[in-house]
Symmetry: C3
Subunit: 469 residues, 3 copies
């Protein structure tokens, strides 16, 4: 196993020997800093209950749509990977299919993380991931999973996770978060995040039922749009009370819009009745993005937004396996135009923090860096989703730094539901930051002394600053 590239101390660092030496020394500064994960999709109840992981397939394969989508592209039906719940296929058979196709992950971000997990977290050799030894690796992983020390709470500790935010339904009672906060023996912070998408998008499944439930639960007796807005504010407050630091919004576009109360109420009524046009649904969403910012100015929640993705593009897969199964496809976004109403009114509001994320690289230099280079509220969201990969992160730094410097970033975001990949993801990001800074040092654009300060700031201070941690 010592020969695995996952163990190489210089992995991801630039090839030039001089630059690599600088990068290595920068990486050393941050290698062991605690993990701050201000946005992700781990289940808080799993941690609160310290639920044991069932088996390797359920832990590493079936729920990770980064992984299953590429196997699907290579011809593997999703049911063979036990995606979306029940399946005729056993866990070992699914694992064998994964192993047989493991080479497809060479060069991908998922492949890098998985290899790192196999070696660092599970102590198995990634060279053994192949069809012939599938049963052996499955058993080795299972044995590791069954160890008493391999439980979520112990891993939170061994992964050195200081803060981890989850993503939660506005009506979630947040009991798991409360239990963790009340548990003096648990030293990490697990924070909820307010994610109201399903209560805003008219076109979502069960929008009206959800909005109705929201009004019932927190509308304080008001009805219709007024009840809806009151409930939205109340549930945000509930999240704040339970430690939330941000609200998160997967809006269709980057549009924001200020409607009058009456205009908004009329749209809302159409949405509830199922009679709104697509344009009206988008207008209401844009209005609600504006309103979330208005509420954020009041209650202090950081607002994150990641527009520009067609969700669930393949109807047959959605029907058979549910959402988040790999067929969300990004498209171009226009933050510059879309955010104008929001930023014109709240861009310099005291304490307001707005973090745009994007899967459209073109906005990094064109829109995001200029916005974050003027508005004190705007922090540059780390490369998101398909872009949280080594080369993409390097392109990101090159695209934003010359305009906005290093002080305006959100810090790294792992955005993952793959719990065991968290250390590999953060370490990869730290290696890329070290590599980028090392080049600037080698080109005499920053001093080596400053680079050592900057990397600590990027890795540790930036997420605390942007997310008010």
């Amino acid at each position: 196993m010592s020969s695995s590239i996952a163990n190489h101390p210089d992995r991801l660092l630039p090839a030039d020997p001089g630059v690599r030496a600088i990068a290595r020394s920068l990486h050393k500064d941050v290698e062991n800093l605690p993990i701050i994960s201000p946005h992700g999709h781990v289940d808080a109840a799993m941690i609160a209950n310290d639920t044991p992981f069932p088996d390797p397939t359920a832990l590493l394969l079936s729920p990770d749509h980064y992984v299953t989508r590429l196997l699907h592209a290579n011809g593997v039906p999703l049911e063979q990977l036990r995606v979306g719940g029940t399946s005729e296929i056993g866990a070992l058979d699914a694992w064998r299919t994964f192993c047989a196709n493991w080479k497809a992950f060479d060069g991908t971000a998922s492949g890098y993380w998985l290899r790192q997990e196999f070696v660092d977290v599970f102590g198995i050799d990634d060279l053994d991931i192949r069809e012939e030894t599938a049963e052996a690796t499955f058993n080795a992983l299972q044995a590791k999973i069954d160890e008493p020390g391999f439980r979520p709470r112990a891993l939170m500790d061994s992964f050195n996770i200081e803060v981890m935010a989850t993503t939660d339904d506005p009506l979630d009672d947040l009991s798991a978060h409360r239990a963790l906060a009340d548990d003096a023996s648990f030293t990490s912070r697990v924070l909820p995040t307010f994610r109201p998408d399903a209560y805003i998008k008219f076109w979502g499944a069960d929008f009206a039922a959800k909005a109705d439930a929201l009004i019932q639960a927190a509308g304080q007796g008001a009805t219709g749009y007024d009840g809806y807005m009151a409930a939205m504010a109340n549930r945000r407050a509930y999240f704040v009370e339970h430690g939330a630091v941000s609200s998160d919004h997967g809006s269709h576009s980057a549009a924001t819009l200020k409607l009058s109360r009456d205009e908004a109420a009329a749209l809302f009524a159409k949405g509830m009745a199922g009679t709104a046009s697509t344009a009206e649904a988008f207008a209401f969403e844009a209005h609600m993005m504006y309103q979330q910012a208005a509420m954020a100015v009041e209650d202090g929640l950081v607002m994150t937004m990641h527009p520009g993705v067609h969700r669930n593009t393949h109807a047959a897969t959605l029907e058979a396996f549910g959402p988040d199964t790999g067929h969300d496809i990004p498209f171009a976004v226009d933050f510059a135009t879309g955010l104008q109403p929001l930023l014109n009114d709240f861009g310099t509001a005291k304490g307001f923090h707005f973090i745009p994320f994007t899967i459209d690289e073109t906005v990094f230099s064109r829109e995001i860096a200029p916005l974050a280079g003027f508005y004190p509220s705007v922090f540059i969201g780390a490369p998101w989703w398909f872009l949280d990969a080594p080369d993409a992160m390097m392109r990101f730094r090159s695209a934003v730094t010359e305009t906005a410097g290093f002080s305006r970033s959100s810090g790294f975001i792992d955005d993952t539901r793959a719990f065991c990949s968290i250390p590999a993801r953060h370490d990869a990001s730290r290696r890329v930051e070290a590599s980028f800074l090392a080049r600037l040092v080698a080109e005499h654009r920053i001093t080596e002394e400053r680079a050592h300060e900057i990397i600590v700031d990027i890795v540790d201070a930036a997420p605390r600053r942007a997310f008010k941690l």
Copy 2:
């Protein structure tokens, strides 16, 4: 001549000595593999008839709009280059003009290919390409061209071209292809490609006449839209019988659309009458893209699409010199939205292969890699047209690999009508692949052993897989 950079064994390889050594060894694996060219614009009849090349200007200059456009930009009227047929200017004079402006090609892809051709194919020194020695190089090239061994069939052999696809009119009788297939002494495969653009775009010259001819030829007695659709399917079948593996579509946008038979028939009638609006013409094209996919699911032809180019933007040049004379200008495309109807219905259809090409780099990481990372039908089209150049190909690999890996590519596409440039183009691509992989090896992201497997897969297996060869 030994001092020409065209002879340097390390050309296009990365400068870092460590990375270069790895790249050199990777390139060696594929340097002599046969050329697979699944899409291009060489004339099959030229090969079937083994037509001698007339003169250096007609072979290398006048028909190559990559070359003539840049001379035009530098102030040379196209008639001085004998573009578009007859000209008052002699072949040698045109050649002299080219030589006088040869320095304009420094740093360009065309310049790289031409230099390589001069040295490798014609055995002349590229340093002699200058106005003063224009006559000498013209004569040297002519002497080479006049050699009995310098005929298309012999060159197919010496270029080591195993497969070469041409691009053909749906009503072409494909007699040249048949003659080549029937000739046991000819061992390369020259395959037709079904390209029905002119029979789909209402705005094209003579659309109605062409569609009418199609219906007459293959509509089996049906008329109007029904005859048109029957003829389309019949001609595709004819191409399949004659060895075609793909249909090719230069659609305006990436839009696809499923219309009912009656809606489509009504649009078709307007198109035939010349009364369709621009929006209707685009809708019909989008519908026909959907229909080509539907037919592909039946007959197995791979579908390639390369939208996003304003064709023939300069009316005066079009009138004087015809199409394909250098003034086609790309614009932004939206595959994510446009392809949804097509991929929702056929994206997982058994045996369906869809290959999007683009001259808009922004879609590589944002749209193409995510699509090819889920849909088993989608293969990532190689960098196209202005992008089949060393730096652009490197950006392409960086943009797609982290999401989609190495298994989802189309393989290199030369897309050329410049027959003698084919070896240089494929070799350049192989050098870039070696360089990209070498960096990943140097950064400990893939093992050197795997890189050796991957480069052979990319160069040789990928085009066979994507194009069903």
Copy 3:
């Protein structure tokens, strides 16, 4: 001070020792060539009057929105930086605030230029730029500013500026330019540039009053649209007489449009009456872009265009501090479609020069290089605004060169109102050009001999050629 990275001879050059050595030798060729600055925002009257600079804050900080915007993003109110005129804050206090936040500029283009200025122009150590030594650096800068030799005319000489264009209102009498031209003791050329934006955009402040003034001043007695067009042509002629070589256009989009005289006159009347819709205002602007090109074909002024920026996006900042205060935000542009009417009619017109600039990087390879690779009138505008930074300039060269070579560029554009930053900006550009060429040499894509010719052409001949200097 000898330890400052601003003094390092290899700053901005690539880290690889072999490539760096080539780059260093290429940079030496152009290091001391005179500065040609064909577009910028220095005030001609300041030079004509040889106005002393008031203080370090007024010279280096308050008017430079590249600098103040990033301080603002980091939480500094603009009034603390004495932006936009009067302020309660003293110059030294503003300077102290800048020094306290100086680290925010690490990695930015502005930071690079400022460091270079501190060391090269003012002879102070950039390591002393910190809050504790703010008074000392302020005083040192003030002492330098107060030296008799530190006046604009002397600096024009010591900066080695051969040509510098200013940007001027169409009704400017250009007396400062005339005075400089008439002064035999002043050897630099200071040229006016015709910038009619405020007289074209219906939505601008005081459009009607401005257009009216234009007609009064130069309409030759004609009224309405006809007087407006006559006045436009007359003022262009006046600028030509006073040495102008170009007109400059900050249009909203890249759209151009050919309207009939009557259509245009009707729109103009609406614009004057304040009744034009947004769409009509954009249509009139597009028409006027077409008309400026038509006039350019007649009078020979080079036409530069830089669309795609939302101006003054933050209303409160605009009201308090005026325009050009850091909140102009770029958005995506479409040159390919927008320029078609203009280029179809004038793209090959004798002597017409058109230079598109962009803050949208995506058009470099997709649109600009293909346009400049065909149309003899189109020269590739240097990276603009947020993109005139080392990494962005490198991406630019990589994006355009493979399609358009090195012969089609505008040369470097500093576009600055920060007079003392001009040498640092041009030197940075020259270092990037040397670095890009050095890589091509190292990859055996151009010969070292040619690289030496090309860098001189890029730096010195290109701007003279593109701007007819």
